[in-house]
Subunit: 144 residues, 2 copies
DNA sequence: TTGCGGTGGTTGACTAAGTCAACTACATTT
DNA sequence: AAATGTAGTTGACTTAGTCAACCACCGCAA
């Protein structure tokens, strides 16, 4: 009988979310892990990413994302820029404060990342990430 | 720079939860994936498991678990049995209907499991599970 | 060129999941 | 026996995730 993968995965995610939340709360400012996730993407693709792009990348529901972005804008971390090619959409840019937050919280995230990797080799980490991607891909294929 | 493991993991969990929910909804009866998770544990350790044991195993918050169990009892899938050694706690038993549900939904879960494993070797699956456990363990160590 | 189906984004209304604190009842320690 | 600890419950709340309806705009085909 082949192993059930879900249970360890649920456990891992749970622990990870808890650690991340704790790490992030230190320098707190109304930011949740999900805000952080989105903010990092916006930071990375600064002014070259639309809400819809983020939906594609993350599979976050577009309704939820619209709200997250509204909140990030409300906090002054993000702004909308007109997209001259398509008046329905807009590019997302990050503010100086936004960058601050990303930088600051990246440190915390990195710490969690390192803790998580304790006792594992780079090869194992890479394999793990590869397998996770593959499995997600398998599941997503199925649902279309 | 070492790879960030969180993003693929978040994606995988997201896809997995979605698939599971869909798989479970087919034969629906007020059951969520989390109910299922708890119900399976109760089925496995039938009459030999307490609420607190489940909290230890899963890290589900005890408040949340109390409510889940109340719901499962309300649905007639689970019952409480007095624990003669400790009047504060009780053992959890599963009913015939409960077993039915577990059996039925295990099929659905197994299907999702198989989809997830497409193109991976048994060795890779085993490694993946091992690494997930190790990482969860690392994180949990840290938080005490 | 208009009109029609599709897409990006927003809002409403909701369910599921997770958290924290306070409390009850019983157990253990000292 | 008193103090301290633990199992489970309840209240009140936050974070995530989902679905449907809608608007403004896009692109294409008749």
């Amino acid at each position: 009988m082949s192993e059930n993968i879900k249970e360890p995965l649920f456990n891992l995610l749970h622990s990870m979310k808890r650690s991340l939340r704790q790490a992030i709360e230190v320098g707190d400012l109304g930011i949740t892990p999900l805000h952080m996730r989105v903010l990092k993407i916006i930071s990375f693709y600064n002014q070259k990413v639309t809400a819809n792009d983020i939906v594609q990348k993350t599979l976050i529901d577009k309704a939820q994302l619209a709200r997250l972005i509204k909140e990030l804008i409300g906090l002054g971390y993000v702004s909308k820029l007109d997209n001259p090619n398509d008046k329905r959409s807009y590019y997302l840019g990050i503010s100086g404060e936004g960058e601050q937050i990303v930088k600051q919280l990246s440190v915390a995230e990195h710490r969690v990342n390192e803790i998580m990797k304790t006792g594992l080799t780079e090869q194992e980490i890479a394999d793990f990430a590869r397998l996770a991607k593959q499995m997600a891909h398998n599941l997503n294929q199925q649902n279309e």
